[in-house]
Amino acid sequence: MNIEDFFSSKVRMKILKILSEVGELNISGIARRLGVNYGTTNKHLKILENEGIVQHKRFGRIRIYRLNEYSPKTKAIQNLLEVWER
């Protein structure tokens, strides 16, 4: 996905903000904070995961998402959020 498409989504940016604030969360928890439904949240999380920006861990039926700290893209986004939200 190219950069303009990636940053064009409000939901994706909000997900990144939420995960950088709380560390890790399941899909329903993220959806609740976003105020959007499960399906939409899941779709955007998959895009973020395909880009290597987030990763998930599975506990039975539960998937817990967190930022992928080893990804340079994640680091760049975290820097951006920090500067922007300061």
Binding site: G23, E24, L25, N26, F59, R61
Partner: protein
């Protein structure tokens, strides 16, 4: 009066959650506990252990377990073992295995969801987390009675046997169950009981001399030198001894007496301060019981306490209590819960022994529930709850 003068050096040393470095008159039990769990320092993956600690209120069960937890964790760290000591008060989680385990899991994953799986799955998740982190846990289930009462044999069986079916995998969770007496587990079926009853440490009630030693120890930690005379400690020990050797009662009494001394701008905590404190304390209802209530249970109880403060009657009807609760909700700017919810809260308060409920046949419209506060002064309870709720709000 000088606002900065105080007899206290560090009053947190008298807090209910403070665990002293040294536990007077519990050295033998602490050594025994260390002995039971010594394998955790050598071959933690090879086995698990289950220990029960029994004893009356204020005999040091919780303090003993927490001291042990801090000591063994420190030792394990020195040896490079990832050992966690986790203390769960089951009563705070309404005796629910699910909620107690959720608390444990949320120590590793703070935002772990609360819904969508069973207690058994949660136990599996906990083991998965421990496997991934190569961690071992000593899980202490304090007020174990409430878990047994609510969940019965099944929960105990799951807790104790789940690891046994993990063939060829490292053992991860050892248990300490804290309860007042073994009577509580008599209702369990034989197989669940047999998994628990192998190692039992019983704590006897403290003698007056032992209580004096414990109080002197706390005095040296919490008060400035020469502010607590021997007579004061002796009187406090006497009172704690008459409360079935309840050290916690004595420590709380000491703290209150110190507060009276400060309020009157005294240089020392006199026996008179202790007498004043004892008339205001309510040992039968533990502070921790009130603290652990949910928001609306506290609000409901506050309504009841205020009703009794304003009316010189022995009973309040559920309808009147509901009205008082609605006023409190308005004051705290929260939406009142429904009648059915209040009925559940009343049952919880009654189970905890804070209120007493009776069903009366009075009146033409059928039976009504009467609520009384048999053992706590309404004034004290109102003050305590108001402080707690203000704190929560801020």
């Amino acid at each position: 009066m000088s606002p900065y003068r105080s007899v206290f050096k560090d009053e947190t040393k008298l807090d209910i959650n403070y665990v002293p470095y040294r536990l007077p008159h519990r050295d033998r039990e602490l050594r025994l506990l260390m002995e039971f769990f010594s394998f955790l320092l050598r071959t933690p993956e090879k086995m698990t252990q289950r220990v029960m600690i029994t004893g009356d209120v204020g005999t040091g069960k919780t303090a003993l377990s927490q001291r042990f937890g801090a000591d063994i964790t420190r030792e394990a760290k020195k040896r490079g073992t990832n050992l966690r000591y986790i203390h769960v008060n089951c009563r705070e989680y309404r005796g629910s295995l699910f909620l107690s385990l959720h608390h444990v899991v949320s120590i590793f994953h703070p935002n772990f969801p609360r819904r969508g799986y069973s207690a058994e799955e949660l136990l599996g998740i906990l083991l998965q987390i421990l496997d991934e982190q190569k961690a071992y846990v000593v899980l202490t289930l304090d007020e174990f009675e409430s878990l047994v009462e609510r969940e019965g044999s099944d929960a105990v069986y799951k807790l104790t046997r789940l690891q046994e079916i993990r063939l060829n995998k490292p053992q991860r969770i050892s248990l300490i169950c804290i309860l007042r007496s073994l009577k509580a587990i008599e209702q369990l079926d034989a197989s669940a009981r047999s998994t628990l009853q192998s190692n039992i440490i019983h704590l006897d009630r403290y003698s007056k001399q032992q209580l004096t030693d414990i109080l002197n120890n706390r005095v040296s930690l919490a008060f400035k030198p020469l502010t607590v005379p021997e007579d004061t400690v002796s009187l406090t020990a006497e009172l704690a001894f008459s409360e079935n050797g309840n050290a916690r009662f004595g420590i709380e009494l000491l703290w209150r007496a110190g507060k009276y001394a400060d309020a009157e701008d005294l240089d020392t905590v006199t026996p008179e301060c202790v007498r004043k404190a004892v008339s205001s304390i309510y040992a039968v209802i533990r502070k921790s019981d009130v603290v652990s209530l949910r928001l609306h249970e506290k609000l409901f109880l506050l309504g009841i306490a205020r009703f009794f403060k304003q009316n010189e009657t022995a009973y309040v009807s559920l309808a009147e209590a509901e009205q008082a609760y609605a006023v409190v909700c308005e004051e705290f700017d929260v939406q009142p819960h429904s009648h059915t919810q209040l009925w559940k809260y009343l049952r919880t308060l009654s189970t905890l022994g804070i209120v007493k409920t009776e069903v009366s046949a009075a009146g033409l419209r059928g039976r009504s529930t009467c609520i009384s506060l048999p053992r706590i002064p309404a004034y004290e309870l109102e003050k305590e709850l108001s402080n707690l709720l203000q704190k929560e709000r801020s």
